[in-house]
Symmetry: C2
Subunit: 133 residues, 2 copies
């Protein structure tokens, strides 16, 4: 596949795909005779994986490290697993922060038209807000 096709498939710009390759976020892509990138299915799977992790907010640095270890082979197995566990931990925390903030936003929006309380009420910290969920 060409860079444009892969970009379209995964919602990334060609610039971003080149950038990802340059910094080692995706393994180096084979070039055709004319020098153009030719993405294999495996390459696409990497792109998909990276996009998924990036969309969730996993840091580029962590993914670069993971990819580099992956390319060094089986001896890096334990280290790679540790990276995944660390990212899992961080994502879980972000997940909970977003959940709490969504509860708060939901409550605020629900009550935005029922002006039963003074305006300043909207600034009240979360432990004073009834939660749903």
């Amino acid at each position: 596949m060409t860079i444009a096709e892969v970009g379209k498939k995964y919602g990334l710009s060609a610039d971003t795909l080149r950038y990802y390759e340059r910094i080692g976020l995706i393994p180096s892509i084979r070039r055709a005779e004319n020098g153009r990138r030719n993405y294999t299915e495996d390459d696409c799977n990497w792109v998909e994986f990276i996009r998924c992790m990036r969309n969730a907010g996993v840091k580029v640095g962590a993914l670069v490290e993971y990819v580099a270890l992956f390319q060094q082979g089986d001896s890096t197995h334990a280290k790679r697993k540790q990276i995944l566990i660390e990212q899992q931990k961080q994502l879980t925390q972000k997940f909970n922060e977003i959940k709490d903030t969504l509860n708060r936003l939901n409550y605020k929006i629900e009550n935005y038209d029922k002006r039963l309380v003074p305006v300043q009420r909207k600034l009240t910290p979360p432990n004073n807000e009834r939660k749903f969920l």
Copy 2:
């Protein structure tokens, strides 16, 4: 409260609090006779609200707009609600992306020691991965 106290209370640096005030993310804080900031309880509630939204990833720009509208009074009520709804939408999307990525990470980690499948298996896209949850 002093800037240091508020910073400590909410886990923000004094620099960040000044920055937030400068760009209008927090309403302007009254100064004492000596020129120093003196945070009221209302000010603290704003700080807490902003920190919560920022921790969840709500963009500074959206919050600046919200605060500005808030200060313009009741006539901006509908617009403010729209902003909250938009942020709710965006956070919900991020929430789901993180949830999916966590499922994927969990699965990957669970199976990282059972090497029942070739290494390349770790790159397989999500629809080929068994989900739990």
